[in-house]
Symmetry: C2
Subunit: 350 residues, 2 copies
């Protein structure tokens, strides 16, 4: 049976090197279509099954990268997971995914399982409410994983305490918020409502800081800032707009909206239309993330591109690059940039 | 160190049963918040790390479910993966994910790796070009996995040859296409253009069959059918509409469009607008999948809901339910239903 066939037999049968067979079997690109075909044929002819026991001893049982997100379907999480999976595959690793539903107890249980599965790295994705309990939890994960020869990677969330041996891969969230707010200010808008973010959540707060810093830089007094934090998610943006317009008797005191993410922005456009306000004719709208929806709706929504897939790839690349840091977090920040579409028009200042 | 602490110590410390500890650690719901807190506390106090070696011997090393999709970010694949992950977690399993990029050689290598990782089941998701090579490949996977005590689950793709020991979880794709086409016919449309599907792909072909069957049932001659298969994906729908309108000199010979999926439908609305045609005023549009975009665009797109998450859950439930079938596929079909939004108006027949 296949159990007795070795990778050398496959290489000999295919007339390629053992390295090529292993690259092909690992999906470890680049390999030519020709060698893939030869190896595939040889694997089939020999009904090759790598010897699980021998490979386990050789550490193949360890060849997984784990990624933990709040859910698997939000575009940001899905793209980070896709990046993790693609980079892991290039290194011959499979990817373990799990979703926490934002439940710390569930997160703890999953990190425990992933450690027991001997994942080479555990990647935690997404913003958090950063309190002592969180910092303490991350420190525990990092130390426990380091002790097991694995490592903790925090992706899109802040670095924990200075003595925590974690890898941190962030995107420049605040700079993106500053840039897109400046884009609105540059177009002549001054009263800009920031809506649809979760107060206390590190991702949302960084966007608020970028927004406020941009107002400062353009000499707009903080008294003109309009910040209505209700939570990420479509319905929150919808409610926020209705609240703001109801307070203002249907006539908005703002000429532009900075939505916490693109789905909020899409909902904002719908809500504004219900009050007879055109986008961008009456009110300009920008979002964040560059989710597919930003390109799918009319008008296309000007937004901030997050390098989600590249963050996932970077997390894996760094985790596999070397030994866990002796102490302290190792921080990497990827850039963001504006994607200009049709949802911004000139404001009263123009 | 933690290596010497057992799950019994944790249970004793937490004052709960070993089963409760294992359920909590496995994220195997339901568990009360109170017991989760107790167990979490005990795990922390004891710095508990389950003995990986002992657990591996006990089969914990096998506790993974593998899901293989073309990519991780398309809503359909992401929702199936989410369902797999949620159900797997409820059974104390972690989920392995990998994307094939539709490359058979890569699929083969990944199934091989997943078998070496001793996944309890390997779930392959999504439509295929069903040819002899495909049937032969699926038969090989199913037999190889069954021999390893694992099993093959085909999700959203047709059952292989009758002698292949695979589980098949499908959705009633053709019935959904029949229903949404009938919805258009019932609204008075007769010339309905079906666009944006990949000829030969089982998912697309089933939608064409449902469309044609609906035309037959409503007495619309096949000569009035308009089928323009170019491939799934937004740009294809866009091109298809431009082709059809260019041929017709800008004046469409159709009053409704059945788009192969919702992103195609969204692109169709944009393309029609560029020719000065209003949706649904001049042309009605329906899609398929009930992807988020269908609800996010204006007008909201009438579409067919696929139970993607439930398919993933069902795949895992069935795979863990019992021993691999002695021979032949075991087929389960989940229902689809129309989601009515604002993209359909009365046609000339009304």
């Amino acid at each position: 049976m296949g159990e007795r066939i070795t990778i050398r037999d496959v290489a000999a049968r295919a007339g390629v090197s053992v390295a090529t067979v292993s690259r092909v079997l690992a999906g470890n690109y680049p390999t030519s279509a020709a060698s893939r075909a030869k190896v595939q044929r040889a694997v089939k002819d020999l009904d090759y099954v790598a010897n699980a026991h021998a490979r386990a001893l050789a550490g193949a049982g360890r060849k997984t990268i784990a990624v933990l997100t709040y859910d698997v379907v939000s575009p940001f999480f899905a793209h980070v997971a896709q990046g993790v999976e693609m980079e892991a595959a290039q290194h011959g690793r499979l990817t373990l995914v799990a979703s926490t539903g934002s439940d710390p107890a569930r997160e703890l249980a999953l990190v425990q399982m992933m450690r027991e599965q001997a994942a080479e790295a555990v990647v935690l994705v997404g913003g958090v409410i950063e309190d002592d309990e969180y910092r303490e939890r991350m420190a525990r994960y990092a130390q426990a994983l380091a002790a097991a020869g694995s490592r903790l990677v925090l992706c899109g969330r802040p670095a924990p305490a200075p003595d925590v041996p974690a890898l941190v891969v962030e995107y420049d969230n605040e700079a993106g918020a500053h840039a897109v707010t400046s884009h609105l200010l540059g177009a002549g808008h001054r009263r800009i409502a920031l809506i649809g973010y979760q107060p206390g959540n590190t991702t949302g707060e960084a966007r608020v800081h970028g927004y406020l810093r941009a107002l400062d830089d353009h000499g707009v007094p903080r008294s003109d800032a309009i910040v209505h934090g209700v939570g990420f998610g479509q319905h929150h943006g919808y409610e926020a707009i209705r609240d703001l317009l109801r307070e203002a008797g249907g006539k908005p005191e703002f000429t532009a909206v900075f939505a916490g993410d693109d789905r909020v922005a899409a909902a904002t456009v719908v809500a504004l239309r219900e009050y007879g306000l055109d986008v961008p004719g009456d009110v300009s709208v920008v979002g964040y993330n560059d989710d597919p929806v930003a390109a799918d709706v009319t008008p296309g929504i000007t937004t901030v591109r997050i390098p989600a897939e590249e963050m996932g790839r970077t997390a894996v690349r760094l985790a596999l690059a070397g030994a866990p840091p002796r102490s302290g977090p190792e921080r990497h920040v990827l850039g963001t940039h504006i994607v200009v579409r049709e949802s911004v028009a000139a404001g009263p200042g123009r």
